[in-house]
């Protein structure tokens, strides 16, 4: 018999509904995996009691015929989502011990749909990082290892690294992630799973610890496209408490799934062919192009001329917004307070923030402060916002020639812990393919495409027009059927 932890979201939902197994048995199986997987450091907090309570409610609901869309499905929640009564740290020591008195809109939606919570997932501090190494609670390990016989510890990517590791290691069938500049897609690619960032505004940001508000967007990560569609449908929806929440009905994405790209024009942006990217990335991209062509799509070469400016624009805009958003950590209302003897209020602010924030967070706050400071605002921040407008215009123009774009998700496979920490810009380059869609607010998915010579997963990204999650999901499904990606990490942890 298949282990219950080999079942994904759809299979659990359907199996519980059909009475093939109880929701409690599923929750117990996943809780056991979470405990056995502690060496991965994917969870900051475990909440088995909440997973079991939701499971028992699901079993009762089945008996009374009142099943909900996610009844019986236990999930991991990224520690960026405020969860009522459960510690929420955003991966930062400055929030250690903080227990929100309210629930984020997205997690509330998931729980209202019947899902349970296995725990809170580790992440880069305040989602600032691409390797999970900036977490105040230690790095997450990827369940994957290179096939060279070595035991080098690899990153699961970031910032949703705990989320990615948990799904890849079968500690959860699905999880929430957030994506500011690739934080769902890059870790999904590194760990051989699927993750979608929806159109900006689909998921409410209310109750998600803010990093860069004009970019932050929640999305699901899971083992396949269908599971992502199911979770996204539950997560999304209008929320008046987020002024950028889109007042639109949530489409029935799962019901609309069709592995059909016949007649679709898939754009291949030539600016995404950049120097220094391993040949294997190009090869898997070419393979992906062939798969979609084979599925009936028309492949067209297109141009997004401002692509190379996306990353530097992002590294002005995101730190600028972060420097403003993170001003709230002042030792007064929540979290850490460090009070120097003899010091006044300003000394307390400075000591608290010096002790509570890690190096990368301080670096980004200071860059943001610098680019917003008097005399530099126009040269940096306004210039970046104008370049951002040009990047968005590139996408608007390209839709005259194609319906979707296919690109690599990341410029490499997963790297080893410590390999890029000394050079911030080398780390930032991880998100070179992910950031343009973030700046333009477009839906984008990463799907597993294959393994490199070292046996590590590689992902490809499909970007769609604003609000066309269905087109993105359907192309991803057609891709997934042809890729037939079944590789998984052997358990060593």
């Amino acid at each position: 018999m298949t282990a219950l932890t080999d079942l994904g979201v759809a299979q659990i939902r359907d199996g519980v509904a059909a009475g093939e197994f109880s929701a409690r048995a599923v929750a117990e199986a996943y809780i056991a995996n979470v405990e056995a997987g502690r060496g991965l450091n994917a969870f900051v907090v475990e909440t088995p009691e909440l997973a079991l309570a939701a499971a028992d409610a699901a079993d009762k609901a089945r008996a009374s015929g009142e099943l909900k869309p996610l009844s019986g499905v236990p999930l991991g929640i990224k520690d960026l989502f405020c969860t009522e009564g459960v510690q929420t740290t955003a991966g930062s020591r400055i929030l250690e011990g903080y227990k929100p008195v309210y629930e984020s809109h997205v997690s509330a939606n998931l729980f209202a749909a019947g899902a349970g919570m296995l725990g809170k997932l580790n992440m880069d501090e305040f989602a600032m990082g691409s390797s999970n190494e900036t977490s105040g609670f230690g790095p997450v390990l990827s369940p994957w290892r290179r096939n060279d016989g070595g035991n080098a510890a690899l990153t699961p990517g970031g910032s949703s690294g705990g989320s990615a590791s948990a799904v890849a290691a079968r500690l959860a069938p699905g999880v929430t992630g957030t994506d500011t500049g690739g934080s769902i897609r890059q870790p999904a690619a590194f760990t051989g799973i699927t993750g979608i960032k929806p159109t900006y505004g689909r998921c409410s940001r209310w109750g998600i610890v803010a990093f860069a508000s004009s970019l932050d967007q929640a999305g699901p990560m899971a083992r396949d496209v269908r599971d992502c569609a199911i979770l996204l449908e539950a997560m999304a929806g209008f929320d008046p408490r987020d002024s950028t929440s889109l007042k639109l009905d949530v489409p029935a994405w799962e019901a609309g799934l069709a592995a059909d790209v016949r007649g679709k024009r898939i754009g291949i942006p030539k600016e995404y062919r950049i120097d220094g990217v391993p040949a294997e990335i190009d090869a898997v991209w070419q393979q992906g192009i062939e798969w979609l062509r084979d599925a009936g799509a028309e492949i067209v070469e297109v141009s997004l001329p401002h692509t190379k400016y996306a990353l530097p624009a992002y590294y002005i805009i995101a730190p600028a917004e972060a420097s403003s958003n993170l001003a709230r950590y002042d030792g007064v209302r929540y979290g850490l307070r460090v009070q120097p003897a003899q010091g006044g209020l300003d000394d307390m602010y400075e000591a608290t923030r010096a002790a509570g924030f890690g190096a990368e967070v301080k670096r980004r706050i200071m860059i943001g402060t610098y680019v917003l400071s008097a005399g530099f605002y126009d040269a940096y921040f306004n210039q970046a916002q104008k370049v951002r407008a040009l990047i968005a215009r590139d996408f608007e123009r390209v839709w005259a020639h194609c319906d979707l774009l296919l690109t690599p998700t990341a410029p490499s496979a997963a790297f080893g812990l410590g390999e890029k920490m000394a050079d911030p810009i080398a780390m930032y380059l991880n998100d070179v393919f992910a950031v343009p869609a973030s700046l333009a607010g477009l839906p984008a998915i990463s799907v597993p495409a294959g393994l490199d010579a070292q046996g590590l997963p590689l992902g490809l990204q499909i970007i769609g027009k604003a609000l066309d999650e269905q087109g993105v999901l359907n192309a991803a499904l057609a891709f997934e059927e042809r890729a037939g990606f079944t590789a998984r990490a052997e358990a060593w942890w």
């Binding site: 929540y334 209020l345 210039q383 810009i425």
Partner: protein, 95 residues
């Protein structure tokens, strides 16, 4: 543009982050590198574009000017490092 030690101390002050001399020495070249790298944006011709203000065209909604929550003082104070008499407590600011 190169970020010198004096500038690092100034922006650290603006950002309310205490920095040691060693941190200043490390941050100055790091921030210079990053600022130097983002300066490539200056070569983009933006003369005919407005700065982007919304990713997806969206109208800022208005709602009736009525109280929609409140009366949760104790919940708001629940996570405060120091709270007294129903208020957040901070070091004395007035002698």
């Amino acid at each position: 543009m190169s970020v010198d030690a004096k500038t690092v101390r100034h922006i650290a002050k603006l950002a309310r982050i205490a920095v040691s001399d060693a941190e200043v020495a490390a941050l100055a070249p790091e921030l210079s590198n990053i600022i130097g790298w983002i300066e490539q944006l200056q070569e983009v011709d933006v003369s005919e574009v407005e700065p982007m203000t919304a990713v997806i065209p969206n109208i800022l909604r208005l709602r009736d000017d009525v109280v929609t929550d409140g009366g949760i003082r104790d919940e708001i104070l629940a996570n405060a490092p120091a709270a007294e008499h129903g208020f957040f407590a901070v070091p004395k600011v007035i002698e």
